[in-house]
């Protein structure tokens, strides 16, 4: 077995910081998901546009973000933008912006797939009963798409939450940063990372269960 003396007292002493870090991570993930959803929805519709340059622009955005490591995007926004004279965002805002753009690219694809998978008959039926184009979308297409894409959205939220650990690289005091700090200050390596892992696991699993219930309630009508 491990030849190691566990000492969790440093964890209790820093319990506040661990929990605040966890809360910050959850908050950043949630806000990024909301902003990302808006970006994703707009871009998903944009991709069905007849205006080719818009489609090309969205394609460029999605492929650029999806094929670049998130850490590099974080560095680019946090360290890179100020070099071009853009000082608008502090470290937390920079991170949320990056994560939202990152989420937006993935959600563009999720929503696009969702829109594509709506049975043609639904839209035709909506037309037949005389719904306006806007109402066709808000009353028929979007609710159905939301139900179809719900499982993917749950996945995205959990993965965004785990991605908040990367914010430690730009000195955002979230859970990973706190764990690393406790680790550096006390050398209680295993205790610090074990605590962080358990908190990540518990939080992510709770989100998963809650969303699973939501999915069951709003399961796509088959």
């Amino acid at each position: 077995m491990l030849d190691y003396n566990f000492n969790f007292s440093v964890i209790w002493r820093n319990a506040d910081e661990f929990l605040t870090g966890l809360g910050l991570g959850l908050g950043m993930a949630l806000i990024s998901l909301l902003i990302g959803s808006v970006i994703g929805l707009l871009c998903a519709y944009g991709r069905t546009s007849r205006f080719a340059p818009l489609r090309a622009l969205i394609w460029l955005y999605v492929e650029f973000v999806r094929n670049t490591p998130l850490l590099l995007l974080i560095f680019f926004v946090y360290f890179g933008l100020p070099e071009f004279g853009i000082f608008v965002f502090d470290k937390v805002e920079s991170f949320i912006l990056t994560l939202a753009l990152y989420a937006g690219a993935y959600m563009t694809e999720i929503f696009r797939a969702g829109l594509n998978s709506i049975p043609k008959q639904y839209v035709e039926a909506a037309m037949a009963i005389g719904l306006t184009p806007i109402k066709r979308q808000t009353k028929v297409v979007l609710p159905v798409m939301f139900r179809i894409t719900l499982p993917s959205l749950s996945n995205t939220l959990i993965s965004l939450f785990k991605d908040t650990s990367l914010a430690a690289a730009i000195a955002v005091p979230e859970l990973t940063f706190i764990a690393r700090q406790v680790n550096t200050n006390t050398f209680r390596v295993i205790e610090a990372w074990l605590t962080a892992s358990v908190l990540y696991l518990a939080a992510a699993y709770t989100i998963a269960i809650a969303l699973r219930r939501l999915e069951r309630r709003y399961a796509a009508i088959r």
Binding site: E83, F87, A171, R180
Partner: protein, 300 residues
């Protein structure tokens, strides 16, 4: 090592090298009428590291390779830096050739073990003198006083330590994540905010990108940055938290230690001063004044 048969080489070296021992031995030989090696043996100096190194023909130095401006590799992979210059001074003193030297590269935590196990003759690796370490190794006289300081952007409106103190809580200092790093910053700048990064280059980039107003680092590293990029950086001209860098030798060999000390001292005060002066200029961008002529340091 003791009672090893002596060679002509060593006798020649003892007589001809500039080492004071040589002269003393030669004088004694004339008086008492015994051979030089025998006299060296009688004095107990034949088992000194000094004789061993002279016999071997080159010096073995423990150092590192990853910390500019102390010990790091140039584009061709050759070691350079302040520590390396100090080591070469010793080789020059021993063999009249600064290149008769073998570097053993290791992490800082291998410094004392390498000495104790005789893997190296001396460690020259930005070693801070502490009372604890001084019980395990013997330190030479220090050749640099390290401290922490801050690096500022050249275009920053902050110039002096007073400016930094006046900024109070609005001052953000970036630093490498480390135990007590916040305390270190707060010794010099009690109210400053501290952003900790997991690598030294991220902390520097935070300064470049104006995410931080100042970067905390060893004062030598601050000076090295400014030396390399005088148009990009400046410093407020103050350091805090002093600690002395010295070389270290295995305990129990006063002859070897005293010889190294003589070389280091004369590099700071005497014949080798121009070499030391050039090194300080090269690695820290500092001009040090030539010692006053006429009185030893004790009177200056």
């Amino acid at each position: 090592m003791k009672d090893k048969p002596t060679s002509m080489d060593r006798r020649e070296l003892l007589k001809l090298s500039g080492v004071s021992l040589g002269a003393a031995t030669a004088g004694a030989v004339g008086m008492v009428g015994i051979s030089a090696p025998a006299y060296a043996q009688k004095l107990g100096i034949s088992d000194s590291k000094l004789i061993e190194v002279l016999d071997r023909g080159h010096l073995i130095v423990g150092t590192g390779s990853t910390n500019p401006p102390w010990h790091f590799e140039d584009a061709d992979g050759n070691l350079q830096g302040m520590d390396i210059d100090m080591a070469r001074l010793l080789a020059k003193g021993l063999f009249d050739d600064p290149d008769k030297i073998e570097f053993v590269k290791g992490n800082p935590d291998a410094r004392i073990p390498n000495l104790i196990t005789n893997k190296v003759d001396i460690v020259v690796q930005f070693m801070t003198i502490t009372p604890g370490r001084a019980q395990q190794a013997e330190f030479t006289i220090p050749y640099y006083r390290e401290g922490v300081g801050v690096l500022l952007r050249k275009d920053s409106e902050l110039n002096t330590m007073d400016d930094l103190l006046a900024a109070g809580e609005n001052l953000t200092v970036s630093a490498l994540q480390n135990v007590f790093i916040e305390d270190w910053v707060h010794v010099g700048l009690p109210q400053a905010k501290v952003d900790q990064y997991d690598s030294i280059d991220a902390a520097l980039q935070a300064l470049n990108a104006r995410r931080a107003d100042a970067q905390l680092a060893d004062l030598s590293a601050v000076r090295w940055q400014i030396k390399q990029f005088p148009d990009r950086y400046k410093e407020p001209g103050k350091g805090w938290m002093p600690n002395s860098y010295a070389a270290a030798v295995k305990p129990g060999d006063p002859i070897w230690l005293n010889w190294v000390n003589s070389v280091f001292k004369e590099a700071m005060m005497g014949v080798d001063f121009p070499i030391m002066q050039a090194s300080y200029k090269k690695w820290f961008g500092l001009d040090i004044n030539s010692p006053n002529i006429g009185f030893p340091s004790e009177f200056s």
